[in-house]
Symmetry: C2
Subunit: 202 residues, 2 copies
Amino acid sequence: MPGGGGSERAVALRDESVTTEGKQEGKPNKAEATEVPAAVTYTPIGVIHSEHRRPQETPIQPVYARGCKGWAEILPQYAEGLKDLDGFSHLLLLYHFHRAGEPQLTVVPFTDNQPRGLFSTRHPRRPNPIGLSLVRLVRVEGTILHLDDVDILDGTPLLDIKPYVPRFERAENATGGWTETVDDSTASRRGRRGFQAGRGQP
Amino acid sequence: MPGGGGSERAVALRDESVTTEGKQEGKPNKAEATEVPAAVTYTPIGVIHSEHRRPQETPIQPVYARGCKGWAEILPQYAEGLKDLDGFSHLLLLYHFHRAGEPQLTVVPFTDNQPRGLFSTRHPRRPNPIGLSLVRLVRVEGTILHLDDVDILDGTPLLDIKPYVPRFERAENATGGWTETVDDSTASRRGRRGFQAGRGQP
């Protein structure tokens, strides 16, 4: 994740910045105040299309959206950046949850019935409502990316496309916290929500 | 990724919006123009700290940053949202590449010597410079998240924290496009960059 130059492009500093004190003993920067930029601004690179029009009938994750086709329409000025994508089977899409509503720091996850801390969930009502979906790339056709396993509402603004690189995405011995208290079949039933498998590809 | 309400919070529509025409035959919305919001604005929820001060010596991915300790300092107003995080072994951090420099649609990846389309790489010079790292969560201490496998520059603004949920992150039969033309040991050597293993934990 290193950066090249020193430009602060796309960082829109507001009048006030938020300052926190580094409180960690024996850590770098312990005596320095940390300046947090008050806002960053991004411009969508395209739009995601799917058969999902109603949030309450939209699968909550790609793993519960097998057979849900969709496509991403990339603005023409970004076409050059799509080169070499076609060899990848999966993409990580970052997008703006444009219908998330107000953020909530405690939510009841769609797969659970207990209130949980927002950051321990993938719920859309986040302070910064950025969505992340691991979708299958079916085909690239000009500036259209044909997708499968799409758990994303029709009309969602797309912020970034990252290739899924198998050697980068390994998490060894991962444990899933509270999600392990919900069995796979219950999670799947709740996670699919109103989505009917027959509506998409079998 | 469904949303609840209909509020457009955090979407800052500029005077002009970008309009594209749906060109897909037989797809939803084929006759409708798609409105892409021209900008979205996010406010960082905290800052990431690490031993990495120089972009050119920072590992390019967590898989090449084993033993690189760091921590995320979350602003106190988001403390409630951290509940239940402590059962997870891994987190997906979304952050702003604050030193990425100007975007480039064609880049030479750090692990390769060929120019590639930006969106087929994880290079930071992205139109929307959002970084994604899969890090290990060592311990939660109040609003401090102690982390390992940190490939993130010290002082990076944090935008979101998502739990790594093993059942959500599966990509079956994934293929890695051009990245498969670079062997693992070459990718590892290039990917670690100037990082010296001895500087962090063994």
